[in-house]
């Protein structure tokens, strides 16, 4: 699974730390998700999507072989 988190952040002009604070996780967690090392839970994915005002599928995209 890949995600467009970095792009969405750039559009909204917020740092990893800002996003982390908005959804109540640590900055390292956002960083680990952005580098595609960690697939967040549904709850966390929904919270992230809400921050950007988008659907989850617009931010998290299934890849071949998932």
């Amino acid at each position: 699974m890949k995600n467009t988190l970095r792009i969405e952040r750039a559009i909204k002009n917020i740092t990893q730390g800002d996003l982390a604070e908005l959804i109540g996780v640590s900055r390292q967690t956002i960083n680990t998700i952005e580098s595609n090392k960690y697939v967040p839970s549904t709850v966390l994915a929904l919270k992230i999507a809400r921050v950007f005002g988008k659907q989850v599928e617009e931010i998290f995209i299934l890849e071949e072989g998932d």
Partner: protein, 290 residues
């Protein structure tokens, strides 16, 4: 999902403040034969008035400090506890239990090849025999391995967490065979510590130790996310149970009786894990039956 059953964040600092003096005291007590002056009781032996039994408490104190300190550090919440720190904690738990009990099993097998598990190797820890040396390290080794792995995952990468996967042995044949081997061998192994030991008791203990390990680390027939969660939660509770029990025994049980506690501790965490896991798994099956 974040972990249940964790201590508040400030406990981490308290934990370090208890753990480090405990390790230092433990080193001096076991390897340098240091005893805190006056921290002991003396009693004249009932059947022989010329002998005075001295019970030192320094090593008990060191063990209590190490266990309590390591538990607080390991299971205190991070400053920002989220689902990823939970996962990292679970990964460290998986690793520490796997490595610790694999090591125990290998050491027991090595002892059998060398001679006898119960043979006294004249070690510095007294005349207990080889298995007791393993059991003494086993009192705290799983916690130390946990702390190393946990902090490695948290801090080895700048600004990011390191994530490791968990792998398990397939259901067939591993889980099926180990389950039966464990059930068959448990009673004969326990008899070793009574007045009626069976022949080949060292070998029985070695095989039991291996089969328990395989049972703990092999998959259910259909292992999914839900079952994995139950598995990791059960591992955490197993460590709580074993060390809660050990801490109490450390305060109230001395001498030979404590030896039996240490022997039980060689399988205690795995046994408790299996009981809790199957209990929660069956409850899940029952609750979700249509």
């Amino acid at each position: 999902m974040t972990s249940r059953f964790l201590f508040p964040h400030y406990c981490k600092r308290i934990g370090w403040a208890i753990l480090i003096p405990g390790l230092v005291l433990g080193y001096f007590s076991f390897f340098r034969n240091y005893n805190i002056p006056g921290f002991s009781t003396s009693r004249i032996r009932a059947n022989n008035p010329n002998v005075i039994d001295v019970q030192q408490f320094t090593n008990s104190l060191a063990l209590a400090l190490v266990i309590a300190g390591a538990m607080l550090v390991a299971f205190a919440k991070e400053k920002i506890e989220d689902e990823l720190t939970t996962r990292i904690r679970h990964n460290a738990l998986y690793w520490s239990i796997l490595i610790n009990y694999s090591l125990c099993t290998v050491l027991i097998i090595a002892a059998i090849i060398k001679g006898d598990v119960f043979y006294d190797y004249h070690n510095i820890l007294g005349s207990f025999g080889y298995i007791a040396v393993i059991a003494i390290y086993n009192l705290f080794s799983v916690l130390i391995i946990f702390l190393l792995r946990y902090h490695y995952l948290l801090y080895s990468k700048m600004g990011q967490y390191k994530l490791g996967g968990l792998s398990f042995l397939p259901y067939y044949p591993y889980r099926v065979v180990s389950k039966w081997a464990t059930r068959i061998l448990f009673v004969p192994a326990a008899l070793t510590y009574t007045n009626w030991p069976l022949p080949y008791s060292s070998e029985i203990i070695a095989v039991l130790s291996l089969s328990l390990l395989v049972w703990v680390f092999s998959r259910q027939k259909r292992e999914d996310e839900m079952i994995s969660t139950i598995r990791m939660e059960s591992m955490q509770l197993a460590i709580y149970f074993v060390y809660g029990f050990l801490l109490l025994s450390d305060f109230f049980i001395y001498g030979n009786a404590f030896f039996y506690i240490m022997m039980f501790n060689l399988v205690g965490a795995e046994a408790f894990f299996l009981i809790r896991f199957h209990f929660a798994y069956n409850k899940l099956l029952k609750d979700t039956r249509e």
